[in-house]
């Protein structure tokens, strides 16, 4: 086992996912299968290889510091499940 049920539960918690017992079990089994396959990479010696984060030879793309029109507030809020006084509304955070 590369990854146990506790690991899956922990990682799911970090990703803000709540898994049922059955889901945790299923994902543990599936992720072990995928990780075993992924570990084919261990056959490669990459000691002296530099990582590629990005394929384009781009660095620090600058633009002029100009003001542009941005999304009007009503439009930005139009898709929100709940709003109040022109703001996104969420459950109370502080008692």
């Amino acid at each position: 086992m590369k990854i146990g049920k506790n690991d899956v539960a922990h990682v799911a918690n970090l990703a803000k996912l709540k898994l049922s017992e059955a889901e945790t079990e299923q994902y543990t089994e599936e992720l072990n299968r995928v990780l075993t396959y992924i570990e084919n990479l261990d056959h490669l010696d990459t000691e002296d290889v530099l990582p590629t984060v990005h394929v384009l030879p781009l660095q620090n793309v600058f633009r002029e510091d100009e003001t542009h029109l941005c999304l009007p507030r009503e439009e930005a809020l139009a898709n929100a499940p709940e709003t109040e006084d022109g703001m996104f509304r969420v459950p109370r955070v502080i008692d």
Partner: protein, 493 residues
């Protein structure tokens, strides 16, 4: 029927005023009425807006006003490309009600070119999959065999073009999500070079790999669509600030002396013998036109998929963190904020999306970061270097697009087997290269695709080779009959 024509033919007929935009649009809508219940390519249709736009185009043309290069041509967009005022769902419960307040750059460019949006097409949820079976709504059917999958993740776009519901469609390709469905549906699918087409407004999956691409009936149509969407966009910081050529100028049929590398790693275990035979026949056609084909080696090809299943989930886990039920989309009922996040994400995402978020979070966690994530980035370098070496000597690389034929809905249940669908296509995403899938034969009535890979920004070269092949392939001009090969059409599995 008007829908039988290619994009180039329709543009010509419209320009000559032989037909009106309204007639073309009505013909496409009638075609959708006739086949959409069977194919199920669309998540959302935009019929009224389409007819209104067609009327506008006709009025402009009647008045002698300037119309765009694709004026009056019906098309579709994958439902992960934002369209202002039109629901954009990513085929996910999470965004089932999301109406973007802005257009993706490609949507805007196509709008300005005069093309007419008929709707948004089905995909594997958040573009994660190879069959559209991961759509939260329904599975799209392959027009060549309704019991088979159309491929994915851009299966709806591929099927809509194959079934002639639209003249072209856009999709997105992170590991093969344009090319594999294009191969499975017998149409032309291009994934341009990373940075060639703006990703602004494409709902991101794996940002260093994602690229918007096109589905068309033939190679000329592909060039015509590229002429509109290949453009520098300051709103996408990874957009290449490089002028795009007129891609139709490459369609001259001249491949004399062109050097084609055939990587042996793409023809080994697991390849369907008939697929292999058809690709070899295509190589022979190109050789008969004066191209020189030689076997080459891309030794790290087999490591593309395992590296991808680290990099893509890692990027996805970060990108999909934005879906928290606060600003847009689905929201679950909850008593506190923590619960709101958890319940929303747990109920809003489907199983494959959750699986990849968990995998991505795992490989990025501090204990695993070097062993998995950095390792995969290093393997990405090796894959890219394989291509760099090959392209020092060869103009294009030719491979099958997929190792097998379209499979039956529900037939591939093993995760890794499903992931291996992208084995021929994923290395080019890792290296950011342009690649096109072109139909190169039929086996048991199902299409086969070959892939041509080019140097960075050499879309013109692969279009030239694809076009030369297409014009000389000797393939029958087949179209899908839209019937199931025995048995009933599957419902959502």
């Amino acid at each position: 029927m008007l829908t039988q024509f290619t994009l180039a033919e329709i543009v010509d007929k419209l320009a000559k005023k032989e037909i009106s935009a309204r007639e073309v649009t009505e013909a496409a809508l009638a075609r959708i009425d006739a086949v959409e219940d069977t194919v199920k390519a669309f998540v959302t249709q935009t019929r009224e807006a389409a007819l209104a736009k067609a009327a506008q185009i006709d009025a402009k043309r009647f008045n002698g006003e300037e119309v765009g290069p694709l004026a009056g041509v019906p098309m579709a967009l994958k439902d992960n490309i934002c369209t202002k005022g039109i629901r954009t769902t990513c085929s996910s419960k999470m965004l089932h009600n999301f109406i973007p307040p802005y257009d993706a750059t490609v949507a805007e460019l196509l709008e300005n070119a005069g093309s007419i949006l008929l709707g948004k097409t089905n995909l594997d949820e958040f573009a994660m999959g190879s069959s559209t079976e991961n759509s939260a709504f329904f599975t799209t059917c392959n027009p060549w065999d309704l019991e088979s999958v159309p491929g994915g993740s851009s299966g709806g776009s591929a099927a809509a073009v194959a079934a002639e519901e639209v003249f072209f469609a856009l999709g997105s390709d992170t590991a093969g999500s344009v090319r594999q469905p294009a191969a499975f549906c017998g149409v032309v699918g291009l994934k341009p070079t990373y940075g060639r087409v703006s990703r602004y407004g494409l709902i991101p999956f794996a940002s260093s790999l994602d690229q918007i691409g096109s589905f068309t009936k033939d190679v000329r149509d592909c060039a015509l669509v590229m002429n509109v969407i290949a453009k520098y966009d300051p709103r996408d910081s990874t957009s290449a600030n490089l002028a795009a050529p007129d891609y139709t100028t490459f369609l001259d049929g001249n491949v004399k002396g062109l050097k084609i590398g055939i990587p042996k790693e793409y023809f080994v275990e697991g390849i369907n013998a008939d697929v292999k035979a058809n690709v070899h026949k295509a190589i022979a056609v190109l050789e008969s036109l004066g191209a020189v084909a030689e076997e080459i080696s891309l030794p790290h090809s087999e490591f593309g998929i395992p590296a991808y299943y680290i990099i893509a989930p890692a990027e996805a886990s970060s990108n999909l963190a934005r879906f928290d039920g606060v600003q847009y989309g689905f929201q679950a009922e909850a008593d506190n904020l923590q619960e709101l996040y958890e319940k929303t994400r747990s109920a809003g995402f489907g199983p494959e999306v959750k699986r990849r978020i968990i995998l991505g979070t795992y490989v990025l966690s501090s204990d695993n970061y070097d062993a998995y994530f950095v390792k995969a980035l290093k393997v990405r370098t090796l894959i890219k270097e394989d291509f760099d070496k090959a392209f020092a000597k060869y103009d294009v690389i030719l491979t099958p697009t997929t190792l097998g034929l379209p499979f039956k809905q529900g037939a591939v249940r093993d995760l890794v087997s499903m992931y291996l669908n992208d084995i021929c296509t994923v290395p080019t995403n890792m290296a950011g290269l342009p690649a096109i899938s072109v139909p190169c034969g039929y086996v048991d009535g199902l299409p086969v695709g070959m892939q041509l890979i080019g140097k960075p920004f050499a879309e013109g070269t692969i279009l030239r080779v694809a076009h030369a092949y297409e014009q000389n392939s000797g393939l029958p001009k087949k179209k899908p009959t839209l019937t199931a090969k025995g048995g009933a059409v599957h419902e959502k599995i």
